[in-house]
């Protein structure tokens, strides 16, 4: 591929409650260069090339057990490709 610019990936989450804010904090903690922007009702986190959401980090920020499928309650939209959705982590990146 000739274009070598780094492409962002990201998620739009509901800016709804304390739990989602902690989820955002967990994503920021695990992903260097994470940028957080707000729109009415929405919070967007984007990172260069690859985003990892780790269960352990989320649990630390929430102070309770958390299963990765719970992420479905927070997510509104995303860009990138969900390459992994396992018990311990979710990874969003471009493949090529």
């Amino acid at each position: 591929m000739s274009d070598t610019r780094v492409r962002n990936v990201g998620v739009d989450l509901q800016d709804a409650n304390e739990e989602n804010l902690r989820l955002v904090q967990a994503i920021v903690a695990d992903n260097d260069g994470a940028q957080v922007t707000r729109m009415p009702g929405l919070v967007r986190v984007q990172v260069p090339s690859c985003m990892t959401i780790r269960r352990e980090t989320v649990e630390t920020h929430l102070g309770r057990e958390w299963e990765t499928p719970e992420f479905q309650l927070a997510i509104v939209s995303y860009f990138g490709h969900i390459s992994t959705w396992e018990d311990d982590e979710i990874v969003i990146k471009w493949d090529h």
Binding site: D3, S77, I82, D95
Partner: protein
């Protein structure tokens, strides 16, 4: 005690262990629709659903989403939430939504349940089944949410009938029926990839942020609740396209043709959203142009299509036209809705001074030059005691069914019209994109139910305007000018100390 299975193992148990190879019926007989489109699938087992949904986890999280939504709807109704909207004119955006979008969700429910039976692989069958249930949930939650407004405002009462009859609703109707009348793979590229992945953010996210900003809490909640399913649907679209491209190189040109077609079909459909975003929200979230740049140019062209380049896929054929049109799209679409809103299930009005200035700021190169003068003309007519309504019937595009309202890319003062002759009849199009779609399958599009033609043929209640509007199911207060409408008068009385009108 046995260790709990991992997500991966549970998904494999559902999609692989519960599947079987037919022994007394040919696979070709069991799945009769997956060959005629020319798509080759060599290994259905290669289909991966990253969400790894299983029945128990699907219902667990969907039930939680619904519980949250219905709590919001209840408290909104109890707290007289309809009074805390930014303005009653906002509700016109929701009328357009329930008339034009909700019936698409219902149609998608029907078709995904068909696909849940007809794909050869258990992975896509189960993903289609979940999406089918999702789409039914969206139809229901949208109807439940907006029924709270139906008690107070006009225009919400007959949307399923209107979807089948009204001129501007033939745009979404013909879109989804074109997809449903395609084969099972084209439908995936049409709906799951082109609509859900490429364009859904343009449709849903600004709508729902707009709802949030304009005090419409239930719509925001159902929107984000539905959209959380949408991220699964986007994934289905992306998995589908990657799966088909990886299965066989012969699939690549077929997929490219469908991307070209369905990008354009979907893009023409969202012209109604462009109009809504720039003109129907009292408190603005972002302009159509900004939304198009963010959600389409940045995320899709700069992101996704770089990924698809790997497979030999290029961006949609008419993408340059869409980029050029972003300066004009919403203005041309809303100007048309304004002129014809005497025949619509919502009302329109001239943007106020602050709104016009916002449009000038968002569209510095085009608004003051081409579109502000139109509104000044309309304002002059109004100042003289009139209202500019266009009572002539517009010519419609044979493919997207929009009136001929878009201009040439290199001359915004000339309306674009294309035409072609097929079997001795002449057909008209709004663009090269629609003309190309027709040229590829003329036998399909000559059958289009065009609302204007149908009125002239006498299929719509009678020859006069009142007869047609009655056949559309419109009631007093549904249509026309917003200023002085029943909705506006009610709103003013609810917000004054005067007793509510008897």
């Amino acid at each position: 005690m046995a260790r709990k299975l991992s997500m991966k193992q549970r998904y494999a148990a559902l999609t692989r262990d519960l599947d079987w190879t037919p022994s007394y019926v040919d696979e070709e007989k069991l799945f009769p629709y997956t060959r005629f489109e020319g798509i080759k699938v060599n290994d259905w087992a290669a289909w991966e659903d990253p969400f790894r949904l299983t029945v128990d986890s699907y219902y667990k999280y969907q039930a939680e989403k619904d519980k949250r939504l219905y709590a919001v709807i209840d408290s909104f109704a109890q707290g007289q939430g309809h009074l805390s909207l930014s303005d009653a004119s906002y509700i016109n955006a929701m009328k357009l939504f329930i008339q034009g979008v909700t019936p698409i969700e219902y149609a998608a429910n029907r078709h995904f349940s068909f696909l849940a039976r007809h794909y050869n692989g258990p992975g896509p069958r189960f993903a289609a089944l979940c999406q089918s249930v999702d789409e039914l949930r969206h139809t229901q939650t949208e109807a439940h949410t907006l029924s709270a407004y139906n008690k107070y405002y006009g225009g919400f009462h007959s949307w399923p009938k209107q979807f089948d009859r009204v001129w501007y609703l033939s745009v979404p109707k013909s879109f989804i029926e074109d997809a449903m009348a395609s084969g099972p793979f084209e439908y995936l590229i049409a709906v799951s990839f082109s609509f859900e992945y490429l364009l859904t953010n343009l449709l849903f996210v600004p709508f729902m942020s707009g709802a949030s900003f304009n005090g419409d809490v239930p719509t925001m909640t159902f929107g984000f609740s539905a959209q959380s399913d949408e991220s699964r649907h986007m994934t289905l679209g992306l998995e589908a396209i990657k799966f088909l491209l990886e299965q066989d190189e012969a699939n690549v040109p077929i997929i490219q043709k469908w991307i070209d077609k369905w990008f354009w079909r979907g893009y023409r459909l969202v012209s109604l959203i462009a109009a809504m975003l720039d003109y129907m929200l009292p408190k603005k979230v972002m302009s159509w142009k900004e939304s198009f740049e963010l959600y389409f140019e940045e995320q899709m062209l700069e992101g996704l299509f770089k990924d698809l380049e790997f497979y030999g896929i290029r961006p949609p054929a008419d993408v340059a036209v869409a980029i050029a049109e972003k300066e004009h799209y919403s203005h041309q679409a809303y100007w048309t809705l304004y002129q014809y809103s005497y025949a619509a299930g919502f009302t329109t009005t001239i943007p106020d001074a602050e709104h016009l200035d916002w449009l000038s700021a968002q569209y510095p190169d085009t608004f003051d030059k081409y579109y502000r003068p139109l509104w000044e003309k309309a304002a002059k007519i109004e100042a003289d005691g009139g209202r500019f309504f266009n009572t002539g019937l517009p010519q419609l595009c044979q493919v997207c069914q929009l009136p001929m309202l878009f201009t040439e890319v290199d001359d915004p003062e000339v309306v674009a019209v294309r035409d072609t002759v097929f079997e001795g009849e002449r057909y008209h199009f709004c663009s090269d994109g629609c003309a190309r779609i027709f040229a590829d399958e003329p036998e399909k599009y000559v059958q289009a139910w065009l609302p204007v033609h149908q009125i002239l043929q006498g299929s719509c209640g009678g020859p006069t305007l009142p007869e047609v509007l009655a056949w559309y199911g419109f009631q007093d207060g549904d249509s026309g000018e917003y200023v002085g409408s029943a909705d506006q008068i009610d709103w003013q009385q609810w917000h004054s100390d005067e007793p509510v009108r008897s």
